[in-house]
């Protein structure tokens, strides 16, 4: 039961609204592009300097000058525009991106997000994540509800170094959808086959209402 990666991505895709400019993080968020609803036109931003990310190229058509923020070869679209990195983050910081859909290591009930660093482990860096969560209109996190040890990643307080403070608006996990509201999280939707009790039991964070 519960949602698999693709179902989570499909659920996240329902967050998209027609005409929006959106940034998708690496991992499950990237899959969201496969589930954009009919009639909803969304322009994907890549923080390395591109609006209008197209699909992966056909073999042999890869262009080393055309990659996404995950460094994968991509293609362009008729509406594509390129720009430099300072311009790219100007639009991110300036609130021009309606939504970012990002992965996470931990989310807290006050909207704190940790998704860049496990202390003591290899630290690769935050990339553009801190800029995104500080700048975009709405932050949706998509992640597994529990870590590999089976412990809730939806917490009262984050234990890992933060990416941003009070930045998450909505959390989509394999168990369901939760909103960050006054006092804790509000359950918005349950994944198929997941009961309210099950979601509550799997969640360390305070669930309100």
């Amino acid at each position: 039961m519960a949602w698999d990666r693709n179902q989570m991505a499909a659920r996240a895709a329902k967050e998209l609204q027609d005409g929006w400019y959106v940034n998708l993080g690496i991992g499950i968020p990237t899959l969201v592009a496969n589930y954009i609803p009919e009639g909803v036109e969304v322009t994907l931003q890549s923080e390395n300097g591109m609006l209008g990310i197209g699909p992966f190229p056909y073999e042999g058509a890869e262009d080393p000058d055309l990659i996404n923020a995950g460094k994968q070869t991509v293609t362009d679209l008729p509406q594509t525009a390129y720009f430099d990195s300072s311009e790219s983050f100007a639009m991110i910081r300036g609130g021009k991106i309606a939504m970012a859909i990002l992965g996470a290591m931990e989310v807290a009930e006050n909207g704190d997000l940790a998704n860049w660093m496990f202390p003591g482990k290899l630290v690769k860096g935050m990339g553009g994540a801190m800029d995104l969560v500080a700048g975009v209109g709405r932050v949706v996190v998509v992640m597994d509800h529990a870590n590999k040890a089976g412990e809730s990643k939806v917490l009262k307080r984050c234990t890992l170094p933060l990416t941003g403070q009070k930045v998450v608006d909505r959390i989509i996990t394999n168990l369901g959808v939760m909103d960050v509201v006054e006092g804790g999280l509000r359950i918005v939707e349950l994944a198929e086959g997941v009961s309210d009790e099950e979601l509550r039991a799997s969640t360390e964070a305070t669930i309100v209402a």
């Binding site: 890549s46 923080e47 390395n48 300097g49 591109m50 699909p55 992966f56 190229p57 056909y58 073999e59 058509a61 890869e62 262009d63 080393p64 000058d65 055309l66 990659i67 996404n68 995950g70 460094k71 994968q72 070869t73 991509v74 362009d76 390129y82 720009f83 430099d84 990195s85 300072s86 311009e87 790219s88 983050f89 100007a90 991110i92 910081r93 704190d112 290899l122 630290v123 690769k124 860096g125 935050m126 990339g127 553009g128 994540a129 801190m130 800029d131 500080a134 700048g135 170094p161 933060l162 990416t163 941003g164 403070q165 009070k166």
Partner: protein, 232 residues
């Protein structure tokens, strides 16, 4: 006033100095000044501080300056592709200053634009904010970030005219523009130098005023993550 040099080594002659701060363009391996990096490798300049979003891979891009221990400190947002980086960092041989990617780009842009400091929400409440001045604007807490002025900028364009006007191609533009602007001296390598007047003046991404020396060369342009789809 000739800007065109015969080789990367010639273009860097008299410019390199141990301990200097270099701003480098590129994102991952896309749009990196690979020829100038090789020339710095060969010149053996050391104790470098390098402001660059990434640090190449073990055997390409800035990674080759790591192997030769020419880099003392990196100012970057993401360095995950490089095993030697991690080894030197964890052993304390290499200093690392993490910058959020947008803050790094804006710091370069600011340094080039005569803006010594600016406020941003990015990083508030994180380790990035530690020790930085905080200030509220309309109820929103921001931190003060400083402009970066580099001793040298090394960047890679697609085409340039002989007067130094540069155009970039697709996402290879990335950090090259802000890096170029923040350099007291900027050396640019391109795939093709065309006669002045060949580029449309409305299409210039980096005006010649920012570019002091220019070389043309062959580029490997390595792909980091070759990702494709099947023919339909």
């Amino acid at each position: 006033m000739k800007k065109v040099y015969s080789s990367a080594a010639a273009a860097l002659d008299g410019v390199l100095k141990d301990g200097m701060l270099i701003a480098a363009g590129g994102f991952g391996l896309c749009g990196i000044p690979e020829l100038l990096i090789k020339a710095i490798h060969e010149a053996g300049t050391k104790d470098l501080t390098i402001a660059s979003n990434n640090c190449g891979v073990d055997d390409f891009g800035l990674g080759i300056l790591l192997s030769s221990r020419q880099i003392r400190k990196m100012m970057s947002s993401y360095v995950g592709e490089n095993a030697e980086f991690m080894r030197q960092y964890l052993s304390g041989e290499l200093e690392l200053e993490f910058n959020p990617q947008g803050t790094l780009a804006e710091r370069m842009r600011a340094g080039g634009a005569g803006i010594p400091g600016f406020y941003t929400r990015t990083g508030v409440g994180t380790v990035i904010a530690e020790g930085k001045e905080h200030k509220d604007f309309d109820g929103e807490t921001c931190i003060l970030e400083r402009g970066i002025v580099a001793d040298l900028a090394i960047v890679k364009g697609w085409k340039a005219d002989e007067s130094g006007n540069v155009v970039f191609r697709k996402t290879a533009r990335n950090f090259n523009v802000p890096a170029a602007k923040c350099g007291r001296i900027c050396v640019c390598e391109v795939e093709e130098i065309v006669p002045t007047g060949s580029l449309d003046p409305d299409h210039i991404h980096l005006p010649g005023i920012y570019v002091h020396r220019l070389i043309q060369g062959e580029h490997e342009k390595r792909i980091e993550q070759r990702t494709t789809r099947k023919e339909a």
